[in-house]
Structures are given as structure tokens and as C-alpha cells.
């Protein structure tokens, strides 16, 4: 018996070890595995480095990619075209700040040539002297400067006025949308609970939510398992409730902490004249069982679980999730299910806003090590090539003849690649988001339509299209987000006074959950101002006026 058991264990271990060396042979998007290896790719006339350039980089691997994802065709083709070899250490976003700290602790020699700041922050890296400002090198990257554009320079600059990173640019206004179960709304209408199909006013939204709460709309015999409004906590809890915040006319920054008042003052959202009303209403919604009871712990994946589990009535998420979860529910036999993307929640004063996708995101920083090794100019020239027409084509469409063809002057992706929307397109390595680049609207729209015309899309896909397309349901609702300015005071106090256990986000959640009254919340906010939050506000306002 013991011998058999040990033999089985040994085989299991051997099997797991061999799996490490296995390579994927799966064909994705109609492309065979390693299809790019023999591709006929010519050296670039615009940029080819003399003598090979080896660039070490540390970056963040997003969770929509497989953990073993190495960029597919992208990096080997870059090397063929430009002679630049990237040696990238991909890390997950969880604990990335600690990874950066460890790299810094190893000293200058331990630094890569290019580093993504992630949660460590550009200001933190600059403060350490780990990265170099690019202001004096802008003439080496004219394509990048042109791609950012004059009117978006303030998104590129840091709070100290310097430019530190090569950006990634997405010229598409939205990516997320409010979505709700249209089939449940129809059911409630049939039952006479509501008299509309799509909630459009604050009163209608509330009627829909309360209707869901009080009725067994998913028909499983339990009329208490549906969650009227599922909310996601975000990375560190700062962003929780932001969809509702917008409904109260508070046009917040990406982390839902800062806003610009009508008089142009940059401040924290808690100083917005509507914030008290927002907090009072939201507290009531929580007490009434409308707001997700797990809003402080629910991560993105948990939110998707509620969508698949047929208990989510409405949420704010990636528009694509409306399609995938509707189709998932269809596959489970919930044939009339439909997550319908709709305009953002309209608040009591008629406000209905949605954060515009940040077009320019600061991503890749050049380190002091690259400077010490004399590599800065070549690396910047490479990034300039990446933003050239040739570089943009490779990033968006891959290799001509293999992944796309030019039809009537328009680069057209192979149908097989886009038939699953963005999924196969990204799995192949296109729009290699972790590395960054310039994502063209045309490529984006081809993925969005999945090779179909709008008329032929199924209801799930139509919903997705409606949520994402700039001409869809969110048209006219987008607002440009004010930045979160990483000033000295912000860096000094964020951990303690914003997201810390006594920080303002904790107090906000405690207030929503009824552990703290609205008046007590504001009293404690004033206390936090005295402990340093006022400095954060003042320095932020000063920097905002400077970069604006």
C-alpha cells in the first residue's frame, strides 16, 4: 500500500514538474502557436539600433492576461524590426509596491532600465532618485509628444511639473458603464411594481432597486438573495461608491478622492457642497438593503460572481462584462437574462455622469541605471519608434498578411482574431496593454463589433456595444477626470489619513454602514484636516493651478 501511494505521489510530482517546461500549442484567433517565429519581418528604416540593445524592465501584468503571457508576437517582432531586446520581469499588481521597494533596496545596480511605478507611484520613485525626468529629452520623442497632444499635457506631467514616464494612450472615451438586469425590470413592470423598462431618474432607480429587493425576480424561491446595487471596493477601497458619487454631481478623480469645485478650486470630494446629501442618501440605501452589504470587501472577481450567480440587479463595471455574463446566464438556462448597459445613475438633482477613460496614462519610466549605462537616448528613440506609424501598426494590428490586411485603405484585422471581441485579440499579444502604446480607435471598434454589423449583433453584444461606443448610451455623460496629484503632502499622509484605518475612506464606509453619523463623519474629517489633510488639499490645489 505504502509503495503504491509513494509511486502515485512521485508520478504526481513528476507530472507537475514537467508541466513547467511545457509550451502552449493552443491555436488562438485562428493563429497557430508561435505563428510569428517564421514571419517575414523587415528591419525598420525609421529606427534600428546599432549593436543590439538589451533593455531590462519590470512591469505589471494585468489579470486579464494569462499568467504565463509573454506578449506573444509583440516583443520578438520588435526585436526583428528594431534590434531592441526586452527582458521583462512581469509582476502582478498585488504587492507590486513591495516589489519596487525590494528592487530599490538592492541599490542602483539592481535597477532595471525601465520600470513601471504602479502603486509605488512616480513621485515616490522620483523622490528616491530612481527615475529621471524626461523634460530635457522631449526632442528625442516627437511622436510621443504629438500623440499626447497639447491639450492633454497636464495628464502627462506630474504634480511637480516634470514629465517622468512614456505614456500609454487609448483614444477611446469609455470602457465602463452602468448595467442593469433589463429582464428583471420587465418582470417588475409586468407585476405592476414599476412602469418603465429603463430607470432614468433617481426616483425610477430607487423604484427599480426597491422592487428587486422586495420581489423574487430571479425566481429561485428566495426573495432575499438578489442584490439591488452591487458595488466593487476597488484596489484599496478608495473608489468604492464612485458611481453613486457621480450621480450627486461630484465629478471625482479616478480614486474618487478629489474634485474641482465650480470656482476652479481643487479639493477633496468631502468638501463638495453635495457630499453631505450624498452621504445621507447612501446611508439610507445601505440601511434599506439596497446597497451591496459587502461593498467594503467585494473585489472585481467577487462582483462578477454575483453577476454569474443571477443575484446582481445592477452594477457599474467594464461594459464587456454585460455581454459575457449575459451569455453565461444564457448558457446556464436563464434564457431571458440581459445585462443591459445604460446611462449612468441619475441623482436627485438630475446629475448623471461617468468618468471619461483617462486617455493618457503615465506608464514606463526610465531609471537612473539606464542613465548611468548611457542607454537613455536609445531607449527613448525606441519608444519614439513605438509611437511612429510603423510602431502603431504593429501594436494595433500585428503583422500585415498574417493578422491583418489593408482593405480599401483601412487596416482590417482577420475575422478569426476579432470574433471573440477583445479576448483573442489580446491573447495573441495585440494592444499589449501591460507594456503600453497607442491604441487606435479603428482597431478598438473592429474588436467591439467582432466582425459583425450592429444589426446582426445579439442582444448581449448590442448591450456591450451600447455601453462602450462613444455614440451609445453614455454619450453626453462623460466628464474628464481631475487628476490625483501626488504632492509631497499627499505622499506623506495618504497611507495614514486617506486610506489608513483612521483615514477618511474608512470613516466614509463606516458612515455608510451606519457605524458613524453623518455629522460625526464631518467632525472627524475636520480633525483629519488638522492632522495633515488640509496640507494635502492646499498643496494639491497649488499644483493643480500650476499644471492647469
Amino acid at each position: 500500500m505504502k509503495k503504491i501511494l509513494s509511486l502515485v505521489l512521485m508520478l504526481a510530482i513528476l507530472l507537475s514538474v514537467t508541466s513547467v517546461f511545457a509550451t502552449s500549442t493552443d491555436a488562438v484567433g485562428g493563429m497557430e502557436a508561435n505563428w510569428w517565429v517564421d514571419a517575414d519581418v523587415q528591419k525598420s528604416d525609421e529606427f534600428y539600433v546599432d549593436g543590439d540593445l538589451n533593455v531590462k524592465m519590470v512591469g505589471i501584468h494585468y489579470n486579464q492576461y494569462p499568467t504565463t503571457f509573454d506578449g506573444g508576437y509583440y516583443f520578438p517582432t520588435i526585436e526583428k524590426m528594431t534590434g531592441v531586446h526586452f527582458d521583462i520581469d512581469w509582476r502582478t499588481s498585488d504587492g507590486y509596491a513591495v516589489v519596487v521597494s525590494t528592487i530599490l533596496a538592492g541599490g542602483l545596480d539592481n535597477l532595471p532600465d525601465v520600470i513601471q511605478p504602479g502603486a509605488f507611484g512616480i513621485a515616490g520613485l522620483a523622490d528616491e532618485g530612481a527615475i529621471i525626468p524626461l523634460d530635457d529629452y522631449l526632442d528625442l520623442i516627437p511622436n510621443v509628444v504629438a500623440a499626447v497632444g497639447e491639450d492633454r499635457m497636464d495628464n502627462w506631467r506630474s504634480a511637480d511639473g516634470h514629465i517622468y514616464a512614456i505614456p500609454t494612450i487609448v483614444n477611446v472615451p469609455g470602457s465602463q458603464s452602468m448595467t442593469y438586469r433589463k429582464d428583471w425590470a420587465l418582470k417588475l413592470k409586468e407585476m405592476g411594481v414599476i412602469d418603465f423598462e429603463t430607470p432614468e431618474t433617481w426616483e425610477q432607480w430607487k423604484a427599480f432597486w426597491y422592487g428587486v429587493r422586495d420581489n423574487d425576480v430571479n425566481g429561485n424561491g428566495d426573495n432575499a438573495d438578489e442584490i439591488p446595487l452591487v458595488l466593487e471596493m476597488g484596489e484599496s477601497g478608495e473608489r468604492a461608491l464612485h458611481a453613486l458619487l457621480n450621480a450627486f454631481g461630484i465629478k471625482a478623480s479616478d480614486d474618487a478622492q478629489f474634485c474641482v469645485l465650480d470656482d476652479g478650486t481643487y479639493t477633496m470630494v468631502y468638501d463638495h457642497p453635495n457630499y453631505k446629501n450624498f452621504l445621507t442618501e447612501v446611508q439610507k440605501l445601505y440601511a434599506d438593503g439596497i446597497i451591496d452589504p459587502e461593498f467594503v470587501t467585494r473585489k472585481q472577481a467577487d462582483m462578477y460572481n454575483t453577476m454569474s450567480a443571477n443575484i446582481c440587479a445592477s452594477c457599474f463595471t467594464w461594459a464587456q462584462m454585460s455581454q459575457t455574463h449575459t451569455e453565461e446566464l444564457w448558457a446556464m438556462g436563464v434564457e431571458d437574462a440581459l445585462f443591459e448597459c445604460c446611462a449612468p445613475i441619475t441623482g436627485p438633482n438630475g446629475d448623471s455622469w461617468l468618468q471619461e477613460r483617462r486617455a493618457v496614462t503615465r506608464l514606463n519610466c526610465i531609471t537612473a541605471k539606464a542613465e548611468a549605462d548611457g542607454k537613455v537616448e536609445d531607449i527613448l528613440k525606441f519608444f519614439n519608434w513605438q509611437f511612429s506609424e510603423e510602431g502603431i501598426m504593429l501594436y494595433n494590428y500585428g503583422i500585415e498578411g498574417l493578422t491583418y490586411n489593408v482593405v480599401e485603405g483601412v487596416p482590417t484585422l482577420n475575422l478569426e482574431i476579432v470574433k471573440n471581441g477583445f479576448t483573442d485579440y489580446r491573447t495573441i499579444g495585440m494592444e499589449c496593454e501591460p507594456f503600453g502604446g497607442l491604441w487606435e480607435t479603428n482597431a478598438f471598434m473592429q474588436c467591439l463589433f467582432a466582425g459583425e454589423t450592429l444589426e446582426n449583433l445579439n442582444a448581449a453584444y448590442k448591450s456591450f456595444w451600447n455601453g462602450l461606443n462613444s455614440e451609445g448610451v453614455n454619450k453626453g455623460h462623460y466628464y474628464p477626470m481631475p487628476p490625483t496629484l501626488e504632492t509631497e503632502a499627499y505622499i506623506e499622509y495618504r497611507g495614514e489619513l486617506i486610506i489608513g484605518s483612521a483615514g477618511i475612506c474608512t470613516l466614509r464606509d463606516q458612515c455608510v454602514a451606519g457605524q458613524l453619523s453623518v455629522d460625526d463623519f464631518f467632525a472627524k474629517y475636520e480633525e483629519l484636516k488638522g492632522r495633515g489633510l488640509q496640507e494635502v488639499i492646499d498643496e494639491g490645489n497649488e499644483a493643480y493651478q500650476l499644471i492647469r
Binding site: A97, V98, S101, L104, A105, G107, L108, L111, A119, F120, G124, D127, E128, G129, A130, D222, A224, D225, I227, M233, G237, D292, P293, E294, V296, T297, D302, N305, T306, A309, I311, A368, I491, E492, R494, G495, E496, G500, S501, A502, C505, T506, R508, D509, Q510, A513, Q515
Partner: protein
């Protein structure tokens, strides 16, 4: 003059013969000393060498710039930490959880070992022992995921049971009243089997003739446990207790950290998690070092107090 010279000569002679004796002793027991080497290396590398960096608590320490490039700030971080109105709440939370743990979790392995010792059916005993060890090998991340999956009020197993019983599910994870309970129960489940090993080993080293003599004297199983087994494991218990008291200001960091959310932070924020968040996550390494040093000093004081109390009460002590 000559007396002094003689004394010096004697001292030199004595110290050289002493050195020889020590060396001979080491050579004689070289294999045992070799077993100590890895532990020594570990202690030096990870416990003593880092002490050099304690001075980071006096700097606005920058990792890349080192001490030379970092600004000297004196006692700024200590002042900042000690003036934080929440510090004492974090200490109180840490002490509360550890006191509960000391009261409930700590004696459990000994009780479990004593109970296991009374099981006469050997195969059954082995199965129970093995099964009880298993949770120890589950990583904390997995354990916390299990806790979340069981306790989630929307999709959790317990919520389903509550609904079957016609009751409204409780949001255990976001209610501060349940935080310590969740920690203690999951802690007992995960550690009781593994921590019982040391007591099982202590029980097995008790002289069997004592039990024979007791049986001849007419002592039943309960009396044998009370007068032989428990006194036999008591020194182990006391030594572990003193060491545990030294850990009163620490916690199972990853578990606490992963179970924290904004609605339970008033009881779940502990000194180590606060130091990690404010120090490491926010890149204030000076503050993190000051916090760590403060924590260590308090821990040493606690160990000294526990040791002297134990010495007086039971004559068992670490030093």
C-alpha cells in the same frame, strides 16, 4: 612586580588551557555543533545584522540613497507614532486578540494532546492526529479565501444554511463584533493539531514507571493524568507560555491583514499591520523602523515580566 608577572602568566596559561578545553569539546561534539550552524547563520543574517539598520528610524530613509543620501530627522518618527491618537487603540487591539488567543488557542494543543494520549485505539489515534495536522499546511491566503467563501452573506455556505433555517444571513466579515471570534476559531482549527506535537512528545518522554507505580497505588486514569501527565508537560507549557507572551504585540500578520476591511478596522488594526501600512506601503521606512523598534522593546519588557513571574510562582523560567 614579580607577583604581577606570575599572575599574568597564570592567567595566560589558564586562558590558553581553557581555550584548548573548549576547542576539544567542540571537536568532540562537532556533529552536534554542525547542526547548530544553519540556525546560527539564520540568526546572524536575519536577526542581528538587521539591527544595524535600526538607525533608519532616525532618518527620512530612502532605499536607493542609503544613509548618506537620506535626511537625518532625529526622533521625528517616534514623536509622530507616539502622538498618533490611534496608537493606543492599535496596541489595545493587538493585546485583546493575543490575550483571547492566549486564553483559548494556547491551551488547546495541550488539552488535545492529553485527550489524544488517552485514546487506546492506535489506528484511530493516528488518523485523528494526521487529520488534525492537515490544516497547518494550508496557506493563510487559502485559509482566508475559505473563510470568505464560508462567511459571505450573499454567496457563502453559512448564508445558505441560515436561509434554509429561515434566518437572515449575518454579515460576519464586516461586523467588528465577530472579528476576534473568526480569528480565534480559525486559529484553533488551523494550529491545534500541529502545536500539539510538542506536547505529545513531552508526554511520551514521561517515565513510564511513574504510571506503573501509580496504577499499583490504585490511581485511576484521571488521577494519573492529573498527578503525572499534567505535571510532566507543565515545564513545556510554561516555557511556551513565556515565549508566547513575548509575541503579545505581534499577530498572524497575513491573516489579520487579509481579513481587514474598513468596517472592522476599529478592532482589526493591530500594531504590526499599522506599521506595515504606514511604513512599508507608504514608503516611510524610518517610521516603519521606529514602529518595529517600539514593538520589540515592549515585547522584551513583556517577556522579562512573564519570566520573573514564572520564576517566582513555578520556579520554571527561560533565564
Amino acid at each position: 612586580m614579580s607577583t604581577v608577572a606570575k599572575k599574568t602568566k597564570d592567567t595566560v596559561f589558564n586562558s590558553s588551557s581553557m581555550r584548548k578545553r573548549v576547542f576539544n569539546n567542540i571537536w568532540l561534539n562537532r556533529y552536534i555543533y554542525m547542526m547548530v550552524v544553519p540556525v546560527l547563520i539564520y540568526m546572524v543574517l536575519f536577526k542581528y545584522l538587521p539591527m544595524y539598520f535600526l538607525r533608519a528610524s532616525l532618518y527620512d530613509f530612502k532605499l536607493l540613497k542609503g544613509f548618506e543620501g537620506s535626511k537625518f530627522v532625529g526622533l521625528k518618527w517616534f514623536e509622530r507614532m507616539l502622538s498618533s491618537p490611534e496608537l493606543w487603540r492599535y496596541i489595545r487591539n493587538t493585546l485583546t486578540l493575543n490575550s483571547l488567543s492566549l486564553l483559548i488557542c494556547f491551551p488547546m494543543p495541550m488539552i488535545f494532546a492529553l485527550l489524544l494520549n488517552e485514546v487506546r485505539n492506535k489506528p484511530y489515534k493516528k488518523i485523528v492526529q494526521t487529520v488534525s495536522y492537515m490544516p497547518h499546511f494550508i496557506s493563510t491566503v487559502v485559509l482566508v479565501s475559505m473563510i470568505n467563501n464560508i462567511l459571505s452573506p450573499s454567496l457563502g455556505t453559512l448564508a445558505k444554511i441560515y436561509k434554509l433555517l429561515g434566518k437572515t444571513p449575518i454579515n460576519f466579515l464586516s461586523n467588528p463584533d465577530y472579528f476576534y471570534g473568526i480569528n480565534i476559531v480559525s486559529g484553533v482549527w488551523q494550529t491545534v493539531g500541529w502545536n500539539a506535537i510538542i506536547y505529545i512528545s513531552a508526554i511520551s518522554s514521561i517515565d513510564q514507571t511513574l504510571y506503573e507505580a501509580a496504577r499499583i497505588d490504585g490511581a485511576n486514569r484521571w488521577k494519573q493524568t492529573l498527578y503525572i501527565t499534567i505535571p510532566g508537560v507543565l515545564p513545556t507549557f510554561v516555557l511556551l507560555l513565556i515565549m508566547q507572551i513575548g509575541q503579545m504585540l505581534n499577530c498572524v500578520f497575513d491573516k489579520i491583514y487579509l481579513l481587514q476591511n474598513t468596517l472592522n478596522l476599529q478592532v482589526s488594526e493591530m500594531l504590526p499591520t499599522y506599521i506595515y501600512k504606514v511604513g512599508i506601503e507608504s514608503q516611510k521606512y524610518g517610521l516603519a523602523t521606529a514602529g518595529g523598534l517600539f514593538n520589540s522593546v515592549l515585547s522584551v519588557i513583556l517577556v522579562l515580566i512573564a519570566n520573573s513571574i514564572s520564576k517566582k510562582v513555578s520556579e520554571i523560567s527561560l533565564f
